[in-house]
Symmetry: C2
Subunit: 686 residues, 2 copies
């Protein structure tokens, strides 16, 4: 699915509510999703910080005043007892000041002193484990790599293809969607119509001597965050000013950003050289189609345009009936200026998008009742404005989501993400504030997951009205040279109300067709959402792992190096290994089991390294494999479950079918556990 | 999988054997597969044509001589009976000449007069059906499209994802391969090492006035083919010369091609303007990575390089053991000068490649015995050289395939393609001739499928020695600035014999590491194969359909518009529809069945249009859907099988499980047919 705009409430504790950002560049008029955002700071924290800064300034004044008093007493040669009393009072004031300082330090560096440091260390450990186990590999690393490009290694590929298969089952199959698969190479005309050629840009500045490029807003953001976090002597007013700047960063024009960079004296981070004025850099990879060099093209920055340009054919395929949804899974490309945030902001990634077309007169959904009773964390506009936090609300509760169709997809996305194993406590649906949405949008919700970067948007669900189809209609109209060509161009795209309005003025000969269409009076709206799959794997993994570190961050190997993927969407379904003792017969047994597993379509990894069972189980945990089979007899095997660490004995011929049953979801591990003899020996877990 | 070079025996009937082409451009030293080739003309036909041309020339001389004789007799005022006899003799000679002419026409225009015309008409009908049913859509067609770019519509997507899922099951899962997934955007250094930057080119000529671009070899090929087919007065010598030219076309340098174009007076096809000299055009889509404009990049032309650059990590992942295979599925891009042959030569396509790394001292394969008894059409080098045709040989028969590992993969590819439903009679494995292979290759085989374009390569399987890894090693070595950096660079890629040879001369300090590695003495070889998935869909579909038109081409709707996809790899598993009579209860029943099908993961299309059952079955056939469920009662339904057109009655609660059993392959239709009551009514088939 695909999101509507790049907007996420940012950390902006001015006053008592969150101010959201409206991106003027990437997302103005066109639809673009961010690959990540900074975690919003709770309004309460912000207010607390402000009062602490004021208290600190007062304490500082008091310390200064008392210092002066002590000096005055000394100069006046006052009595020792008088001077001692004044010094004692000064020391008490200094202690009070230190205490406020510590409190402020803890507030500005994240909730509860050192948490942000821990979060970063935790993330680095997860990242290292993922890299060491080849979940991902920095692309072309033997050639020193390219920033923002990553390969999936074998376990990463397994997760990706399982997640995509589940996505197809959950959305395409269960919702009868029409899937399409369009090329990445896209001619300029299409992306001119969608607005990407003109507006899919970030503002960039250059080191004037070295030519190194930086994102203008990143420089200001880094400057502001560092100042706020490290400069405790910053006045409450100055701090508020900086926080306001951070909040409105995406709203600033090139000129405004340039003025701020000059005002704060920001220079190139690496060289301290002066910087150029900010100017827009288009984020699409450009190329040229065909040998003539005359057809400019781009690598698509999103997959949705392929759906829009095929609207008419898909509508026909659906029997000329509304509603219907089209879906596409494929690569998207964004030539980021300076990719950051690890796997969250990359230059090439897999998108899975849905465009749902509905009659604007009837946005009810036949299956809404199936999701109406779901209850989960929602963060409506009102709660954000009044500084409250997300609350658990039944989806069907009146008046929160604009319409049933939008609500139905929120419910389906909730089911998708929780089936993937995302923790319900770390998942919320946040409604866009009025000024976050484009003028044509009716309502937008983001599914956000809390991970080490804070709350990260990972699916966007938006009612975008007929904006996207309209954009192509307009483009085709503008470039038609005659009334007939204009009619043909429209006919190529769609039969739709807005088109008719435009056409009536210019091309009203084919009355029959127009009046026939007018009767339908439909006005199309698109519901979209998107998820960056590579990012999802990290979010998901992190989310899984943070389960075991909730509250307090533990970096011990035991708690961290277990990835609790659900069996359906993890890497392998099981591992297959032998004990230390070499035994030819065991190897034959393992071959038979492997063949049975393959016939049943169960992916597995054979571990033939001669290490202890404990070490092999640790490796299994690190790959997030839910079950481990150990061949330690010629008649039966041990099966161990990852999370409970329970072990059972199963006969050879049942091993594959037991694994199939528990990974298919036909049977629960608890039931298997109660039906087979238990096993406990030589495990590192004991 | 991926092929070794672009070489396919071409139609070249000089002498008595096929001369093959060695492409000097795209495939010289680097590995590139053609997306299609022209069907080779049988040696016997070629020899026949030559003798016919000689006979025709003799008959023409005889006619000319006899004509002169008649004129001489008339001039000499010979007797009427003498003149009549001479004229009768002339007419007899003319008849003989006409007969030879007809025979020659039939030989040059394909085997058995008019077949090529029929093939083209057949292909066009298949193509039209595929487009009408949205198997594919010309990309961006509302913007007048881009040549060589196609979208998959819903049924095409279904076939693609089923074929890919089966590929993963058949190769990755069953052979324990390591899957990787690398980006399409690739920095220049990688493709310089692989040879693509320098040599992945086609020779191009330009219309000197209009600037239109053409492939130089295409112009000569079209000129030669048209001359040979239409100019019956062409002498046997001239015809042989042209055929030789066509045979060696890919071997010609830019200068030689240019000279031939001048010699034959070839001009721009559209304008008849003069043409430029040929010059190389690189087929990679070029782009720039990052904002500086200083990192040139390309969209990858194949997925294999992503495997090679990760060799060391994958080898480590496999416990530093050989053999192992790595696999990748992904997009590849080729900026063709002028895409032709419909879906067979496109500018963006999905590749599925395997690189198998093996110890050169031991190319045996543990599972070779599992495929050794397979018997299918093989076309060894010897048979091609002696003008014979492909023969049915058991794969295990001694001496044909270079080694067991290569043989094993040939067997696995055979099983893959026949499981996909490719007709065994239209599938052959052709060995490359000695001069088709690069100097470093040991043996190469192509899986070729016969379709309307003739025999088309669709999978290449090659023993390429260590060439590809070596290329990256060399590149890293050349750009290392110090001994240490050189060592590091090598270390980043691999630990391999050739590297050690090069390093010993330049960097022999780390004796310990070298000697440790030397003991292993492994020398890596790569087996590769590739298939263009979009092309496969067409090949496959055509192959399916030609089943019903074998021998004689029938273009009737009935025989053509059934796509006989196997249930596992087709579009939907079944359709679900109602009879003409509207009935609210039936709709409820259909909803229940649809839900049961979804839970079982069975893809299906609901047909709610109120047309006759016959028409709905015809639509089901056109989408290649194997089963159709018709809801015509509230207690039971009719299930119809596509190929036999048999219909059975099944109770509501069994419908989904019957479909699951027959599409999973657990049960055969024959068994279901014998277990349920039969049904025969109101079908259009009756």
């Amino acid at each position: 699915m695909r999101t509507f705009s790049t907007i996420i409430a940012s950390s902006t504790p001015i006053g008592r509510y969150l101010i959201s950002r409206l991106s003027l560049r990437r997302s103005h008029a066109i639809s673009v999703k961010p690959q990540a955002s900074t975690p919003p700071m709770a309004a309460a924290d912000a207010s607390n910080e402000e009062s602490l800064r004021r208290t600190l300034a007062e304490k500082q004044s008091a310390v200064d005043a008392q210092g002066n008093a002590v000096r005055a007493l000394k100069a006046a040669k006052a009595s020792k007892s008088e001077i001692d009393a004044a010094i004692e009072s000064l020391n008490r004031l200094k202690l009070e000041k230190s205490s406020v300082e510590r409190e402020l330090q803890s507030v500005v560096s994240g909730s509860g002193g050192g948490a942000s440091v821990n979060r970063e260390a935790f993330r680095q450990t997860v990242f290292n484990t993922l890299e060491r186990r080849l979940f991902f590999i920095p692309s072309f690393k033997i050639y020193r790599g390219v920033a923002g490009l990553y390969d999936y290694g074998p376990p990463g590929c397994a997760v990706k293809s399982n997640v995509l298969a589940f996505w197809r089952q959950h959305f395409v199959l269960e919702e009868d969607m029409l899937e399409v698969d369009c090329p990445c190479v896209t001619p300029e005309a299409v992306l001119k119509a969608s607005g990407h050629v003109e507006k899919f840009t970030d503002l960039m500045v250059k080191d004037e001597k070295m030519g190194t490029c930086y994102r203008a807003d990143h420089l200001l953001k880094d400057f502001g965050n560092e100042k706020l976090e490290k400069d405790l002597s910053l006045s409450a007013e100055k701090a508020a000013e900086l926080r306001h700047l951070l909040a409105v960063l995406d709203d600033l024009s090139a000129e405004e950003l340039g003025a701020k960079i000059k005002e704060y004296g920001i220079t190139a981070p690496d060289t301290k050289n002066p910087l150029s004025d900010p100017y827009p850099f288009n984020l699409m990879f450009q190329t040229s189609i065909g040998p003539s060099g005359l057809i400019p093209g781009y690598m698509r920055p999103e997959t949705a345009q392929g759906i829009f340009v095929n609207f008419k054919d898909l509508y026909y395929y659906n029997g000329n009936k509304l509603p219907f949804a089209a879906a596409q899974i494929g690569q998207a490309f964004r030539n980021e200026i300076s990719p950051r945030q690890g796997l969250l902001r990359v230059r090439e990634f897999t998108l899975a998008e849905i465009e749902h077309f509905v009659d604007p007169q009837d946005k009810s959904h036949a299956k809404f009742s199936e999701v109406a009773n779901l209850e989960f964390l929602m963060f409506p506009r009102e709660e954000q404005m009044s500084g409250k936090s997300a609350k658990r609300i039944p989806l069907g509760e009146a008046g929160i989501v604009n319409n049933e169709t939008l609500g139905y997809f929120i419910g389906r996305v909730y089911l998708f993400l929780t089936c993937l194993g995302i923790d319900k406590e770390r998942l919320r649906f946040r409604q866009h504030l009025a000024n976050e949405m484009a003028h044509y949008a009716a309502d937008c919700w983001d599914a956000e997951i809390e991970c080490s970067y804070g709350w990260i948007e990972c699916v966007g669900i938006a009612d975008r009205s007929a904006y996207d189809l309209h954009a192509h209609t307009k483009e085709l109209f503008l470039h038609s040279r005659s009334q007939q060509e204009c009619g043909e161009a429209f006919g190529r795209l769609m039969n739709e109300k807005e088109k008719l309005w435009m056409m009536k003025a210019h091309w009203n000969r084919k009355g029959r067709w127009i009046s026939k269409e007018k009767k339908k009076e439909h006005h199309l709206r698109v519901f979209t959402a998107s998820s960056h799959l590579l990012a999802l794997v990290e979010l998901y993994t992190a989310s899984m792992s943070t389960l075991s570190i909730q509250g307090q961050v533990k970096l011990g190997m035991n708690s961290l190096n277990v990835f609790r993927f659900p069996p359906s969407c993890g890497t392998y379904k099981c591992t297959l290994s032998f004990p230390l003792v070499q035994n030819q017969q065991y190897e034959e047994v393992a071959k038979v089991i492997s063949t049975l597993l393959k016939v049943a379509g169960i992916s597995h990894k054979i571990d033939i390294t001669g290490t202890s069972i404990g070490k092999r189980y640790a490796r299994t945990d690190e790959l997030g494999v839910p079950f481990a089979i150990t061949v330690d007899s010629t008649s039966s095997v041990t099966i161990r479950e990852r999370d409970s660490k329970d072990q059972i004995r199963v006969s050879l011929d049942e091993a594959a079918s037991v694994i199939k049953a528990v990974t298919d979801g036909q049977t629960k591990w608890e039931d298997v556990w109660s039906s087979y003899p238990h096993h406990s020996s030589e495990s590192a877990d004991d």
